[in-house]
């Protein structure tokens, strides 16, 4: 394996791992706000690593730069989207789960 292949495999493995973490969080966490945590963060790092792998597979060049642009765009918009959704939830009066209602998820 060339160093580049190793880098791609490692990055992809990391990306898939964090995507799985995000998915598990999406199932296990108890309320909208907590799920948004998992979706906005693990998801973004998953995207960073995987798109990093894509960029690495292209090598240095314009395509890699384009992937980085895509990454930058997701970086800007993902947290804003998460904010928009939780803000709507807050505005709709959805109470955050605080753990004292008793029912464990």
């Amino acid at each position: 394996m060339t160093p580049r292949e190793i880098a791609v495999v490692a990055l992809v493995a990391g990306g898939v791992f964090f995507a799985v973490v995000a998915a598990v969080g999406l199932i296990r966490l108890p309320d909208v706000y907590a799920r948004a945590h998992s979706a906005s963060k693990s998801e973004t790092l998953g995207a960073v690593l995987t798109l990093g792998a894509v960029a690495a597979s292209y090598g240095v060049g314009f395509n890699a730069l384009k992937v980085l642009l895509l990454l930058l765009f997701m970086f800007l918009t993902n947290p804003t989207a998460a904010h928009a959704i939780t803000r709507a939830a807050h505005e709709l009066g959805i109470e955050p789960w605080t753990g004292d209602e008793g029912d464990e998820p």
């Binding site: 765009f73 800007l76 918009t77 804003t80 904010h83 928009a84 803000r87 807050h90 505005e91 009066g93 109470e95």
Partner: protein, 157 residues
Amino acid sequence: MSDSERRVERGGPYVGSPIIMATVRVVMPFVFTFGLFVMFHGADSSGGGFQGGVIVGTVVLMLGIAFGIDTTREWIGPRLPVALVGTGVLAFLFTGIGSVLLGAGFLEYAVYGELGIPHASKYGIEFVELAIGVIVAGIVTGLFFAIAAGANGGESA
């Protein structure tokens, strides 16, 4: 929590989130450029007039959602979407009928080569794609405002 209670009690207007506004401000010019890029590269890559037009229309949608539809409508003005669609259709017809006048079929760009335009076919396609893009952008914008206006009392954009 106190803030949300205050807002509900006050029943005050929904104020757009500054975070969404700032993000839209930053992202908007790049999305616009991207839309135009897609429009200009209809001939030789994925994309084209329709896609590019929709992306440009998206800019207006983003503005409308972040800053309020009425504000955006005031900024755009009622004439712009109509003017865009009109210009696009005219440009399209002009290119199409122009080739007929030069003795070829409708939209047969190659004939413009006789006028000394290099790569007549390619530029012809680009130009028509651009016209289509302008039409689509105008229609997306117009439809967005028309649908929004329909909900609050029938004043059209």
